[in-house]
């Protein structure tokens, strides 16, 4: 059946995997959604938001919530257009490219934010495993780019310094 937006990515929590193993119903739903038969608004209601993964405070907890093991460090994950210093923590540009074959999803995690996970993206075949977005950082922190490829997890990180801008008033 190939990939769909929701199969095999971070979006899948334990329940969903069970559903998938059980076959039938869920697979049909994703195919229907992927084919656009459900209009947005209908389909989005069926989309998952992994609450547990967005409430974690460490990489371990996050991996657990995502249902994955210890990620291997990889030089095939690269940050681009990601500054070493943020002039303001309210908007920090982050770009991640994964050269890991069969990349299925990319997540951005901020070690010292109140909750570590900032965003996760599922990358279906045909979409380049490379994207950029902007996140908030409360303070100077390590930023992790976590990639799931062919069922395995890979990670790289860099520190971004957050500075106090302006006149300080």
């Amino acid at each position: 059946m190939g990939h769909s937006a929701t199969s095999g990515g971070f979006f899948m929590n334990a329940d969903r995997r069970e559903a998938l193993k059980a076959g039938g119903a869920w697979t049909l739903l994703t195919l229907v959604a992927a084919a656009g038969w459900l209009r947005p608004g209908d389909a989005t209601a069926a989309e998952a938001w992994n609450k547990a993964a967005f409430e974690t405070h460490s990489m371990d907890e996050t991996m657990k919530a995502l249902g994955g093991g210890t990620p291997a460090q990889s030089t095939d994950i690269v940050f681009f257009s990601t500054p070493d210093i943020a002039e303001n923590g309210a908007v920090v540009p982050i770009g991640v490219t994964s050269k890991v074959p069969k990349t299925e999803s990319i997540a951005i995690l901020i070690e010292k934010n109140p909750n570590m996970l900032a965003a996760m993206f599922d990358i279906p075949p045909g979409t380049e495993p490379s994207l950029s977005t902007r996140i908030k950082m409360g303070q100077t922190s390590n930023v992790y780019a976590l990639v799931k490829a062919d069922g395995k997890y890979y990670v790289t990180s860099k520190e971004i310094k957050v500075t106090l801008g302006g006149c300080g008033g």
């Binding site: 257009s81 070493d84 210093i85 002039e87 500075t163 801008g165 302006g166 006149c167």
Partner: protein, 273 residues
């Protein structure tokens, strides 16, 4: 597993930090880091969301008289937006006054659309959230229509010229508890406050570089800020009383800075920290 894993990741992080230092491909200094940051922000400017909102506002009938801004003359004829911001502030005979963009918008709202001045100035500046100012949306739209146009404030016009000179004196006026003038922070080359480079607005190059970026989306505030806001907040930090919206002093100082920027290509609305 938890703590070992955390430690391993920390080790990875410091290893990659070392790689950064010795790799040499990344920022060598704070300045370069900040430059990278600013560069990365250029990819997408939320000011476009304000521009879209402002364009809709400009074209729709509004106010008690249900009149659109098609009747509003920004100096180049009723409803003409293209290039208008690059020639403001300017003298408007119908109001017998030099006006900047925001003051002119207010004039059109009151004299053409039938708003009371109190209604039209209820929200001068937004808060980045549900409190939204029409001036910020309209300002972003009108200014965006001067992108690529050379600044050409009509300084030969006697009223504008007079305001320019008054604005120049104002720029150097020291006062308040801290003895600050605009020139305190913006009168020298190559200085910065904290990590922010300070344009030397007493020189043509500095005025050109700075003025042509406003209005701007401020990421720290999640809001588009107009030049009226920029001046208002500078004076707050100068420890002055509050500069009134649309006041002559606000227009005189704008005339000085915009006039000094003449000849430079307008390039806003920009995105800033």
């Amino acid at each position: 597993m938890p703590s070992t894993m955390r430690r391993r990741l920390a080790a990875l992080a410091s290893a990659s930090a070392l790689a950064l230092v010795f790799g040499g491909a990344f920022a060598q200094s704070t300045e370069e880091g900040i430059a990278q940051y600013r560069e990365a922000l250029q990819d997408g400017n939320p000011a476009e969301l304000w521009e879209a909102r402002g364009e809709e506002m400009w074209k729709k009938p509004r106010g008690p008289k249900q009149v659109s801004f098609a009747a509003c003359d920004l100096g180049l004829g009723p409803g003409v937006v293209k290039g208008a911001y690059a020639q403001m502030p300017r003298y408007f005979p119908d109001a017998n006054r030099v006006m900047d963009l925001e003051t002119r918008l207010l004039w059109c709202m009151v004299h053409q659309q039938g708003y009371t001045e109190a209604d039209a100035t209820k929200i001068k500046f937004g808060d980045g959230g549900s409190k939204r100012s029409d001036y910020e949306a309209l300002g972003a739209y009108v200014a965006s229509q001067s992108r690529g146009v050379k600044m050409n404030v009509p300084l030969d016009e006697p009223h504008v010229r007079d305001m320019f000179h008054l604005g120049e004196r104002m720029f150097f006026f020291r006062g308040g508890t801290h003895d600050f003038a605009c020139a305190t922070c913006h009168g020298d080359d190559g200085k910065r406050i904290r990590l922010q480079d300070l344009p030397n607005l007493s020189k043509v190059e500095g005025a050109r570089k700075a003025y042509t970026t406003w209005p701007a989306y401020r990421v720290s505030q999640g809001e588009v800020r107009t030049f009226q806001w920029r001046l208002n907040d500078c004076f707050r930090q100068q420890r002055f009383p509050e500069l009134e919206f649309g006041s002559d002093a606000s227009i005189a100082l704008t005339a000085y800075l915009a006039g000094r920027a003449n000849g430079a290509e307008y390039n806003g609305p920009a995105i800033k920290r």
